[in-house]
Symmetry: C2
Subunit: 229 residues, 2 copies
Protein backbone atom coordinates (compact mmCIF):
# COMPACT_ATOMS: atom_id res chain seq x y z
CA UNK A 1 0.00 0.00 0.00
CA UNK A 2 1.50 3.29 -1.09
CA UNK A 3 1.70 5.87 1.69
CA UNK A 4 -0.10 9.19 1.36
CA UNK A 5 2.99 11.38 1.60
CA UNK A 6 4.66 13.99 -0.60
CA UNK A 7 8.13 13.13 0.74
CA UNK A 8 9.34 11.76 -2.64
CA UNK A 9 8.08 14.67 -4.77
CA UNK A 10 11.11 16.22 -6.52
CA UNK A 11 9.74 19.76 -6.32
CA UNK A 12 9.60 19.56 -2.51
CA UNK A 13 13.00 17.89 -2.01
CA UNK A 14 14.81 19.28 1.03
CA UNK A 15 11.79 20.88 2.72
CA UNK A 16 11.60 20.24 6.52
CA UNK A 17 9.61 17.13 7.55
CA UNK A 18 7.02 19.18 9.44
CA UNK A 19 6.30 21.29 6.33
CA UNK A 20 5.82 18.10 4.26
CA UNK A 21 3.53 16.63 6.91
CA UNK A 22 1.44 19.78 6.97
CA UNK A 23 1.20 19.77 3.16
CA UNK A 24 0.14 16.08 3.24
CA UNK A 25 -2.89 17.08 5.29
CA UNK A 26 -3.77 20.05 3.06
CA UNK A 27 -4.04 17.92 -0.10
CA UNK A 28 -7.00 15.86 -1.31
CA UNK A 29 -5.81 12.31 -1.97
CA UNK A 30 -7.31 10.09 -4.65
CA UNK A 31 -6.61 6.90 -6.60
CA UNK A 32 -7.33 7.07 -10.34
CA UNK A 33 -7.92 4.04 -12.56
CA UNK A 34 -5.92 3.48 -15.74
CA UNK A 35 -7.26 5.72 -18.55
CA UNK A 36 -9.35 7.76 -16.10
CA UNK A 37 -9.51 11.49 -16.85
CA UNK A 38 -7.85 13.64 -14.18
CA UNK A 39 -8.03 17.11 -15.72
CA UNK A 40 -10.48 18.17 -18.40
CA UNK A 41 -9.14 20.88 -20.73
CA UNK A 42 -11.11 24.14 -20.37
CA UNK A 43 -12.22 23.11 -16.87
CA UNK A 44 -11.93 25.89 -14.30
CA UNK A 45 -10.24 23.88 -11.54
CA UNK A 46 -6.93 25.30 -10.32
CA UNK A 47 -5.47 22.51 -8.13
CA UNK A 48 -1.87 21.38 -8.59
CA UNK A 49 -1.46 17.56 -8.72
CA UNK A 50 1.48 15.56 -7.36
CA UNK A 51 2.11 12.03 -8.69
CA UNK A 52 2.85 9.75 -5.74
CA UNK A 53 2.34 6.54 -7.71
CA UNK A 54 1.67 5.76 -11.38
CA UNK A 55 2.01 7.66 -14.67
CA UNK A 56 -0.10 10.29 -16.42
CA UNK A 57 -0.33 11.60 -19.98
CA UNK A 58 -0.73 15.28 -20.91
CA UNK A 59 -2.82 15.57 -24.08
CA UNK A 60 -4.65 18.14 -26.17
CA UNK A 61 -7.62 17.16 -28.34
CA UNK A 62 -8.66 18.81 -31.60
CA UNK A 63 -12.34 19.66 -32.11
CA UNK A 64 -12.65 16.44 -34.13
CA UNK A 65 -11.18 14.39 -31.30
CA UNK A 66 -7.66 13.87 -32.65
CA UNK A 67 -5.35 13.33 -29.66
CA UNK A 68 -1.95 15.07 -29.50
CA UNK A 69 0.35 13.91 -26.68
CA UNK A 70 2.41 16.72 -25.15
CA UNK A 71 4.27 14.63 -22.56
CA UNK A 72 4.12 11.71 -20.10
CA UNK A 73 4.86 12.33 -16.41
CA UNK A 74 5.77 9.76 -13.77
CA UNK A 75 6.16 9.41 -9.97
CA UNK A 76 7.72 12.36 -8.20
CA UNK A 77 6.49 14.93 -10.74
CA UNK A 78 3.65 17.42 -10.60
CA UNK A 79 1.28 18.91 -13.16
CA UNK A 80 -1.43 21.57 -13.29
CA UNK A 81 0.81 24.48 -12.21
CA UNK A 82 -0.19 26.58 -15.24
CA UNK A 83 -3.82 27.20 -14.24
CA UNK A 84 -2.72 27.66 -10.62
CA UNK A 85 -0.28 30.36 -11.72
CA UNK A 86 -2.35 32.32 -14.25
CA UNK A 87 -5.91 31.43 -13.22
CA UNK A 88 -6.91 30.66 -16.83
CA UNK A 89 -8.64 27.45 -17.97
CA UNK A 90 -6.54 24.27 -18.13
CA UNK A 91 -4.18 24.32 -21.12
CA UNK A 92 -4.40 20.56 -21.67
CA UNK A 93 -6.20 17.43 -20.53
CA UNK A 94 -4.54 14.85 -18.29
CA UNK A 95 -5.39 11.17 -17.93
CA UNK A 96 -3.92 8.33 -15.93
CA UNK A 97 -1.85 5.85 -17.99
CA UNK A 98 -1.98 3.21 -15.26
CA UNK A 99 -3.54 3.19 -11.77
CA UNK A 100 -2.25 6.32 -10.04
CA UNK A 101 -2.27 7.89 -6.58
CA UNK A 102 -2.41 11.68 -6.78
CA UNK A 103 -2.39 14.48 -4.23
CA UNK A 104 -4.36 17.59 -5.25
CA UNK A 105 -3.09 20.79 -3.64
CA UNK A 106 -5.42 23.84 -3.59
CA UNK A 107 -4.12 26.79 -5.63
CA UNK A 108 -3.72 29.30 -2.72
CA UNK A 109 -1.60 26.76 -0.78
CA UNK A 110 0.59 26.16 -3.84
CA UNK A 111 1.17 29.88 -4.39
CA UNK A 112 2.07 30.47 -0.72
CA UNK A 113 4.47 27.52 -0.98
CA UNK A 114 6.26 29.36 -3.84
CA UNK A 115 6.41 32.63 -1.91
CA UNK A 116 7.55 30.98 1.31
CA UNK A 117 10.20 28.71 -0.23
CA UNK A 118 12.21 30.42 -3.02
CA UNK A 119 13.90 27.06 -3.85
CA UNK A 120 10.48 25.65 -4.80
CA UNK A 121 9.69 28.72 -6.92
CA UNK A 122 13.06 28.37 -8.64
CA UNK A 123 12.33 24.70 -9.45
CA UNK A 124 8.92 25.60 -10.89
CA UNK A 125 10.59 28.28 -13.04
CA UNK A 126 13.23 25.78 -14.25
CA UNK A 127 10.53 23.25 -14.98
CA UNK A 128 8.57 25.74 -17.07
CA UNK A 129 11.73 26.81 -18.90
CA UNK A 130 12.27 23.13 -19.74
CA UNK A 131 8.71 22.82 -21.11
CA UNK A 132 9.25 25.92 -23.28
CA UNK A 133 12.52 24.50 -24.65
CA UNK A 134 10.85 21.17 -25.51
CA UNK A 135 7.96 23.06 -27.16
CA UNK A 136 10.36 25.11 -29.27
CA UNK A 137 12.07 21.96 -30.49
CA UNK A 138 8.73 20.44 -31.34
CA UNK A 139 7.63 23.57 -33.24
CA UNK A 140 10.93 23.44 -35.11
CA UNK A 141 10.46 19.75 -35.91
CA UNK A 142 6.87 20.22 -37.04
CA UNK A 143 7.95 23.18 -39.16
CA UNK A 144 10.86 21.52 -40.88
CA UNK A 145 10.56 17.75 -40.86
CA UNK A 146 8.24 15.50 -42.79
CA UNK A 147 6.34 12.82 -40.88
CA UNK A 148 8.95 10.13 -41.64
CA UNK A 149 11.73 12.23 -40.21
CA UNK A 150 9.68 13.12 -37.17
CA UNK A 151 9.41 9.37 -36.48
CA UNK A 152 13.19 9.07 -36.86
CA UNK A 153 13.75 12.00 -34.50
CA UNK A 154 11.38 10.52 -31.89
CA UNK A 155 13.03 7.06 -32.04
CA UNK A 156 16.41 8.78 -31.65
CA UNK A 157 15.15 10.74 -28.66
CA UNK A 158 13.98 7.55 -26.94
CA UNK A 159 17.18 5.72 -27.95
CA UNK A 160 19.37 8.40 -26.37
CA UNK A 161 17.63 7.81 -23.04
CA UNK A 162 18.32 4.06 -23.28
CA UNK A 163 21.87 3.65 -24.65
CA UNK A 164 23.42 0.19 -24.14
CA UNK A 165 26.56 0.79 -26.19
CA UNK A 166 28.30 3.63 -28.01
CA UNK A 167 26.06 3.37 -31.07
CA UNK A 168 23.22 1.14 -29.84
CA UNK A 169 20.18 1.37 -27.55
CA UNK A 170 17.45 -0.88 -26.16
CA UNK A 171 13.98 0.65 -25.71
CA UNK A 172 11.72 -1.46 -23.50
CA UNK A 173 8.84 -2.08 -23.82
CA UNK A 174 8.57 -1.74 -27.62
CA UNK A 175 7.18 1.73 -28.42
CA UNK A 176 3.52 1.54 -29.51
CA UNK A 177 2.92 2.98 -32.99
CA UNK A 178 -0.18 4.94 -31.99
CA UNK A 179 1.75 6.47 -29.04
CA UNK A 180 4.54 7.62 -31.35
CA UNK A 181 1.93 8.92 -33.79
CA UNK A 182 0.21 10.93 -31.10
CA UNK A 183 3.52 12.34 -29.91
CA UNK A 184 4.72 13.50 -33.35
CA UNK A 185 1.30 14.48 -34.70
CA UNK A 186 1.00 11.72 -37.28
CA UNK A 187 -1.06 8.55 -37.76
CA UNK A 188 -0.47 5.00 -36.52
CA UNK A 189 -0.32 3.86 -40.15
CA UNK A 190 2.41 6.34 -41.07
CA UNK A 191 4.45 5.34 -38.02
CA UNK A 192 4.06 1.62 -38.88
CA UNK A 193 5.25 2.26 -42.44
CA UNK A 194 8.29 4.25 -41.29
CA UNK A 195 9.19 1.69 -38.59
CA UNK A 196 9.05 -1.15 -41.15
CA UNK A 197 11.31 0.87 -43.40
CA UNK A 198 13.77 1.42 -40.52
CA UNK A 199 13.75 -2.34 -39.78
CA UNK A 200 14.43 -3.17 -43.43
CA UNK A 201 17.40 -0.77 -43.45
CA UNK A 202 18.81 -2.30 -40.24
CA UNK A 203 18.27 0.66 -37.92
CA UNK A 204 15.84 -1.16 -35.60
CA UNK A 205 15.30 -4.79 -34.62
CA UNK A 206 12.19 -5.98 -32.81
CA UNK A 207 12.74 -8.29 -29.80
CA UNK A 208 10.12 -9.91 -27.58
CA UNK A 209 10.52 -7.37 -24.78
CA UNK A 210 11.95 -4.33 -26.51
CA UNK A 211 13.36 -2.60 -29.56
CA UNK A 212 17.08 -2.56 -30.44
CA UNK A 213 18.14 0.66 -32.16
CA UNK A 214 21.41 0.43 -34.15
CA UNK A 215 23.63 2.79 -36.16
CA UNK A 216 22.46 5.69 -34.04
CA UNK A 217 25.14 8.01 -35.39
CA UNK A 218 24.06 7.42 -38.99
CA UNK A 219 20.39 7.88 -38.06
CA UNK A 220 21.30 11.16 -36.35
CA UNK A 221 22.99 12.37 -39.53
CA UNK A 222 19.92 11.48 -41.59
CA UNK A 223 17.62 13.48 -39.31
CA UNK A 224 19.96 16.47 -39.24
CA UNK A 225 20.30 16.55 -43.03
CA UNK A 226 16.55 16.79 -43.49
CA UNK A 227 16.19 19.26 -40.62
CA UNK A 228 18.54 21.55 -42.51
CA UNK A 229 16.36 21.93 -45.60
CA UNK B 1 16.47 61.16 -26.34
CA UNK B 2 15.13 58.13 -24.50
CA UNK B 3 16.11 58.00 -20.85
CA UNK B 4 18.10 55.08 -19.50
CA UNK B 5 15.53 53.93 -16.94
CA UNK B 6 13.59 50.75 -16.25
CA UNK B 7 10.61 52.68 -14.79
CA UNK B 8 8.27 51.67 -17.65
CA UNK B 9 9.13 47.95 -17.65
CA UNK B 10 5.91 46.00 -16.92
CA UNK B 11 7.70 43.31 -14.92
CA UNK B 12 9.01 45.91 -12.44
CA UNK B 13 5.76 47.88 -12.10
CA UNK B 14 5.17 49.01 -8.52
CA UNK B 15 8.74 48.54 -7.26
CA UNK B 16 10.01 51.46 -5.11
CA UNK B 17 11.84 54.23 -7.01
CA UNK B 18 15.12 53.60 -5.18
CA UNK B 19 15.08 49.92 -6.20
CA UNK B 20 14.50 50.92 -9.86
CA UNK B 21 17.32 53.47 -9.69
CA UNK B 22 19.68 50.89 -8.26
CA UNK B 23 18.71 48.42 -11.00
CA UNK B 24 19.28 51.11 -13.67
CA UNK B 25 22.92 51.32 -12.55
CA UNK B 26 23.39 47.55 -12.44
CA UNK B 27 22.41 47.07 -16.11
CA UNK B 28 24.55 47.49 -19.20
CA UNK B 29 22.79 49.89 -21.59
CA UNK B 30 23.13 49.66 -25.37
CA UNK B 31 21.47 50.90 -28.57
CA UNK B 32 21.02 48.26 -31.27
CA UNK B 33 20.51 49.04 -34.97
CA UNK B 34 17.55 47.65 -36.91
CA UNK B 35 18.21 43.99 -37.83
CA UNK B 36 21.19 43.79 -35.47
CA UNK B 37 21.54 40.48 -33.65
CA UNK B 38 21.09 40.78 -29.87
CA UNK B 39 21.19 37.14 -28.75
CA UNK B 40 22.80 34.34 -30.69
CA UNK B 41 21.13 30.94 -30.15
CA UNK B 42 23.50 28.51 -28.40
CA UNK B 43 25.51 31.40 -26.98
CA UNK B 44 26.39 31.00 -23.31
CA UNK B 45 25.41 34.47 -22.14
CA UNK B 46 22.81 34.59 -19.34
CA UNK B 47 21.79 38.27 -19.17
CA UNK B 48 18.12 39.25 -19.09
CA UNK B 49 17.23 42.08 -21.51
CA UNK B 50 14.64 44.83 -20.95
CA UNK B 51 13.22 46.70 -23.96
CA UNK B 52 13.17 50.43 -23.14
CA UNK B 53 12.64 51.49 -26.76
CA UNK B 54 12.03 49.62 -30.03
CA UNK B 55 10.90 46.12 -30.98
CA UNK B 56 12.66 42.76 -31.17
CA UNK B 57 11.92 39.46 -32.88
CA UNK B 58 12.46 36.04 -31.27
CA UNK B 59 13.48 33.52 -33.94
CA UNK B 60 14.87 30.03 -34.31
CA UNK B 61 16.89 29.05 -37.36
CA UNK B 62 17.10 25.58 -38.90
CA UNK B 63 20.53 24.21 -39.85
CA UNK B 64 19.81 25.30 -43.43
CA UNK B 65 19.04 28.84 -42.32
CA UNK B 66 15.23 28.74 -42.52
CA UNK B 67 13.88 31.34 -40.06
CA UNK B 68 10.94 30.52 -37.77
CA UNK B 69 9.49 33.47 -35.85
CA UNK B 70 8.36 32.58 -32.31
CA UNK B 71 7.16 36.05 -31.30
CA UNK B 72 7.71 39.81 -31.51
CA UNK B 73 8.24 41.82 -28.28
CA UNK B 74 7.90 45.56 -27.82
CA UNK B 75 8.68 48.34 -25.29
CA UNK B 76 8.13 47.43 -21.65
CA UNK B 77 8.79 43.71 -22.15
CA UNK B 78 11.81 41.59 -21.33
CA UNK B 79 13.44 38.54 -22.89
CA UNK B 80 16.26 36.14 -22.11
CA UNK B 81 14.84 34.89 -18.77
CA UNK B 82 15.09 31.23 -19.83
CA UNK B 83 18.89 30.99 -19.89
CA UNK B 84 19.04 33.10 -16.71
CA UNK B 85 16.72 30.65 -14.96
CA UNK B 86 18.11 27.29 -16.11
CA UNK B 87 21.68 28.20 -17.08
CA UNK B 88 21.40 26.35 -20.41
CA UNK B 89 22.30 27.81 -23.82
CA UNK B 90 19.89 30.34 -25.33
CA UNK B 91 16.74 28.68 -26.66
CA UNK B 92 16.30 31.13 -29.52
CA UNK B 93 17.99 34.01 -31.31
CA UNK B 94 16.82 37.59 -30.90
CA UNK B 95 17.29 40.49 -33.30
CA UNK B 96 16.19 44.11 -33.30
CA UNK B 97 13.30 44.89 -35.69
CA UNK B 98 13.97 48.62 -35.52
CA UNK B 99 16.52 50.72 -33.59
CA UNK B 100 16.22 49.61 -29.97
CA UNK B 101 17.49 50.68 -26.53
CA UNK B 102 18.04 47.67 -24.27
CA UNK B 103 19.15 47.19 -20.68
CA UNK B 104 21.05 43.96 -20.00
CA UNK B 105 20.74 42.74 -16.40
CA UNK B 106 23.32 40.21 -15.13
CA UNK B 107 21.81 36.80 -14.23
CA UNK B 108 22.64 36.87 -10.47
CA UNK B 109 20.95 40.28 -10.09
CA UNK B 110 17.86 39.00 -11.92
CA UNK B 111 17.59 35.90 -9.72
CA UNK B 112 17.97 37.94 -6.50
CA UNK B 113 15.26 40.28 -7.84
CA UNK B 114 12.90 37.26 -8.08
CA UNK B 115 13.76 36.06 -4.57
CA UNK B 116 13.51 39.53 -3.04
CA UNK B 117 10.25 40.55 -4.74
CA UNK B 118 7.68 37.70 -4.97
CA UNK B 119 5.43 39.88 -7.17
CA UNK B 120 8.18 39.93 -9.82
CA UNK B 121 8.62 36.15 -9.55
CA UNK B 122 4.88 35.70 -9.94
CA UNK B 123 4.87 37.86 -13.08
CA UNK B 124 7.73 35.86 -14.57
CA UNK B 125 5.80 32.64 -13.82
CA UNK B 126 2.66 34.06 -15.46
CA UNK B 127 4.66 35.18 -18.44
CA UNK B 128 6.16 31.71 -18.90
CA UNK B 129 2.73 30.11 -18.50
CA UNK B 130 1.54 32.40 -21.30
CA UNK B 131 4.42 31.33 -23.55
CA UNK B 132 3.59 27.66 -22.90
CA UNK B 133 -0.07 28.23 -23.77
CA UNK B 134 0.85 29.99 -27.03
CA UNK B 135 3.28 27.17 -27.87
CA UNK B 136 0.60 24.54 -27.27
CA UNK B 137 -1.75 26.33 -29.64
CA UNK B 138 0.95 26.53 -32.24
CA UNK B 139 1.77 22.83 -31.87
CA UNK B 140 -1.93 22.10 -32.25
CA UNK B 141 -2.16 24.31 -35.35
CA UNK B 142 0.94 22.80 -36.94
CA UNK B 143 -0.38 19.33 -36.16
CA UNK B 144 -3.85 19.82 -37.54
CA UNK B 145 -3.95 22.59 -40.11
CA UNK B 146 -2.58 22.71 -43.60
CA UNK B 147 -0.53 25.74 -44.62
CA UNK B 148 -3.54 27.53 -46.16
CA UNK B 149 -5.52 27.24 -42.97
CA UNK B 150 -2.57 28.35 -40.88
CA UNK B 151 -2.54 31.56 -42.97
CA UNK B 152 -6.28 31.96 -42.32
CA UNK B 153 -5.77 31.41 -38.58
CA UNK B 154 -2.94 33.97 -38.48
CA UNK B 155 -4.96 36.61 -40.39
CA UNK B 156 -7.85 35.99 -37.98
CA UNK B 157 -5.53 36.39 -35.00
CA UNK B 158 -4.31 39.76 -36.28
CA UNK B 159 -7.86 40.79 -37.26
CA UNK B 160 -9.16 40.12 -33.74
CA UNK B 161 -6.60 42.56 -32.36
CA UNK B 162 -7.76 45.25 -34.81
CA UNK B 163 -11.57 45.05 -34.97
CA UNK B 164 -13.30 48.12 -36.47
CA UNK B 165 -16.81 46.66 -36.55
CA UNK B 166 -18.65 43.54 -35.43
CA UNK B 167 -17.47 41.46 -38.37
CA UNK B 168 -14.66 43.60 -39.83
CA UNK B 169 -11.10 44.60 -38.99
CA UNK B 170 -8.37 46.87 -40.34
CA UNK B 171 -4.76 45.67 -40.03
CA UNK B 172 -2.23 48.45 -40.57
CA UNK B 173 0.33 48.35 -42.04
CA UNK B 174 -0.46 45.54 -44.51
CA UNK B 175 1.04 42.30 -43.15
CA UNK B 176 4.17 41.31 -45.08
CA UNK B 177 3.89 37.87 -46.71
CA UNK B 178 7.34 36.72 -45.63
CA UNK B 179 6.57 37.76 -42.01
CA UNK B 180 3.37 35.69 -42.01
CA UNK B 181 5.29 32.81 -43.60
CA UNK B 182 7.95 32.90 -40.93
CA UNK B 183 5.34 33.02 -38.21
CA UNK B 184 3.32 30.04 -39.47
CA UNK B 185 6.27 28.01 -40.77
CA UNK B 186 5.47 28.33 -44.46
CA UNK B 187 6.92 30.13 -47.49
CA UNK B 188 6.32 33.65 -48.80
CA UNK B 189 4.99 32.10 -52.02
CA UNK B 190 2.40 29.96 -50.21
CA UNK B 191 1.24 32.96 -48.19
CA UNK B 192 0.92 35.09 -51.36
CA UNK B 193 -1.14 32.37 -53.02
CA UNK B 194 -3.48 32.02 -50.03
CA UNK B 195 -3.86 35.79 -49.60
CA UNK B 196 -4.80 36.20 -53.29
CA UNK B 197 -7.36 33.45 -52.83
CA UNK B 198 -8.79 35.24 -49.76
CA UNK B 199 -9.00 38.51 -51.76
CA UNK B 200 -10.81 36.75 -54.62
CA UNK B 201 -13.34 35.31 -52.17
CA UNK B 202 -13.94 38.74 -50.58
CA UNK B 203 -12.39 38.03 -47.16
CA UNK B 204 -9.63 40.64 -47.49
CA UNK B 205 -9.24 43.90 -49.40
CA UNK B 206 -5.93 45.64 -49.85
CA UNK B 207 -5.83 49.40 -49.16
CA UNK B 208 -2.89 51.78 -49.48
CA UNK B 209 -2.14 51.82 -45.74
CA UNK B 210 -3.64 48.57 -44.50
CA UNK B 211 -5.66 45.42 -45.01
CA UNK B 212 -9.43 45.25 -44.51
CA UNK B 213 -10.59 41.84 -43.23
CA UNK B 214 -14.29 41.07 -43.80
CA UNK B 215 -16.71 38.22 -42.97
CA UNK B 216 -14.65 37.37 -39.92
CA UNK B 217 -17.33 35.07 -38.52
CA UNK B 218 -17.40 32.97 -41.70
CA UNK B 219 -13.60 32.84 -41.83
CA UNK B 220 -13.58 31.67 -38.20
CA UNK B 221 -15.97 28.85 -39.08
CA UNK B 222 -13.75 27.79 -41.99
CA UNK B 223 -10.68 27.57 -39.78
CA UNK B 224 -12.53 25.68 -37.05
CA UNK B 225 -13.93 23.15 -39.50
CA UNK B 226 -10.48 22.23 -40.75
CA UNK B 227 -9.01 22.28 -37.26
CA UNK B 228 -11.53 19.60 -36.33
CA UNK B 229 -10.35 17.03 -38.89
Amino acid sequence: MTQQTLENINLLDGLPTDVIEELNKQCRWKWYDAHEQIIDRQADSTDVFFIVQGRVRIVIYTVGGKEITLDDFTEGKQFGEMAAIDGLPRSASVMAIDRALLAAMPQPRFMSLLTGHPIVAERVLKNMAHIIRISNERIMDLSTLGAANRVHAEILRQARENMTDEDEAFISPIPIHSDIGSRISSTRETVARVMNDLARKGFVERQKNGLIVKNIELLTQMVEEVRGD
